[in-house]
Amino acid sequence: MITDTQTKKPVVKHITHVTKGDLSKIWEEDINQNKTKKAESLLSDNFDSNENSYFKTIPLKCNTLIRKYLHSDLKETVNVNVLSYSLDKLKEKFSLNHIYDEITHSHDLLDLQEDWDEQGALAIDKDVYQASIDFLLMYAKYLLAEKQILLEAPEINPTRSGTVDIFWSTDHARMLINIRRKGDEMVAYFYGDLKDDEEGVKGNVSAKKITKYLASWMESLGK
């Protein structure tokens, strides 16, 4: 909870009509106010759903890093009915907006029929595609929530064998993850390295759960 240093009362903002510009201002003021105050809690569901397009209060609580990205994303991308989301969902959506955009773009992979490259490529396996998206979001959310790291948006590409590649190339690191079936399991095969170091990481893990070793390495792929 953020409190005023004099009165010790919780700091809340009363917002009237919410617009794209207002939201930008909120975050801007929030950042400025918290230069001298540590914000540690997360945003919570705290709007008045009975007042339709009005927020009642916006608590000024969230991690500085997350807020920074929220701010920059909101400035450009607020065009949704914000009241259709809880604030937690809103935060998550806008924080990972660049990743959701890439996922939306990747939906075209499901339209690829057999021989889509005229070289005999296999159609993309729908279950593999879904497992790939789930895998990406699972790690992106984990890194944001647990490590306050916002993953760069990867490329999501088809392979000739009907599987899905997730690929990052950042200033410092690169990683290729391929999701494919192994028996009844969905498995993530990965290779990554730091660009100034030839030693890479390589292996495979279940695509259904977080493997901390891989998540730890993926911190190199943060913004």
Binding site: D117, E118, Q119, E155, N157, D165, F167, Y189
Partner: protein, 193 residues
């Protein structure tokens, strides 16, 4: 075709050792290219192997030119029964010496593809056909892709399909399986055999 097992057919082309100093070409269709023009390059998925493949198909420059690669593409029939649309393809080349430095690439093997004399309509012969032998390995796929990106001017083969070539292709398509590519008389590019 991408390296699936085949019957031996009657051309009797010897399987040769590919020298380190030579190059192999890989043809890349439009959906597999990423990046911005003019620096587009094949993504890592382009270098994956299908379950029935033992290696990645390439063409050895001893037996093909860029022009003949486009002619070969144009004579293949896709799964819908139509001639392949060669116009969107781009060619990238790799030094054999580079490929052999990758631990995960076992070899670059000459694998001449003879379908008959003449070969059937839609499946021309290919004396240049060779295979990059690798496991379907993420490290190799990533490095092949990034080689094309980081060395674009050396790897990308800028070839313009002229209207003259389009006319030639139209003509050899009409002639069914009587083209040069359907026969077994296929000398090296420099005229040697």
């Amino acid at each position: 075709m991408d390296g699936e097992s085949r019957e031996v057919r009657p051309c009797n082309w010897p399987i040769e050792e590919i020298p380190h100093s030579d190059f192999v070409y890989r043809q890349v269709p439009p959906p597999d290219r990423i990046g911005q023009k003019p620096g587009k390059y094949p993504n890592a998925g382009h270098f994956s192997l299908k379950p029935d493949e033992k290696g990645l198909s390439v063409n050895w420059d001893k037996y093909v030119t860029l022009k003949s690669i486009f002619e070969l593409i144009s004579l293949r029939v896709n799964k819908k029964g139509n001639f392949t649309d060669y116009m969107g393809f781009k060619i990238f080349k790799f030094p054999v010496s580079l490929l052999k430095t990758f631990d995960k690439i076992a070899d670059v093997e000459h694998d001449p593809d003879c379908r008959g004399n003449p070969a059937p309509h839609g499946t021309p012969n290919n004396r240049a056909h060779s295979l990059i032998m690798h496991e379907d390995d993420e490290e190799i796929r990533l490095k092949l892709s990034e080689y094309c990106r980081d060395n674009h001017s050396e790897s990308y083969c800028d070839f313009i399909i002229t209207t003259t070539l389009e006319d030639e292709i139209e003509e050899i398509r009409i002639n069914g399986n009587s083209s040069f590519y359907h026969q077994c008389n296929w000398p090296a590019v420099n005229g040697e055999d």
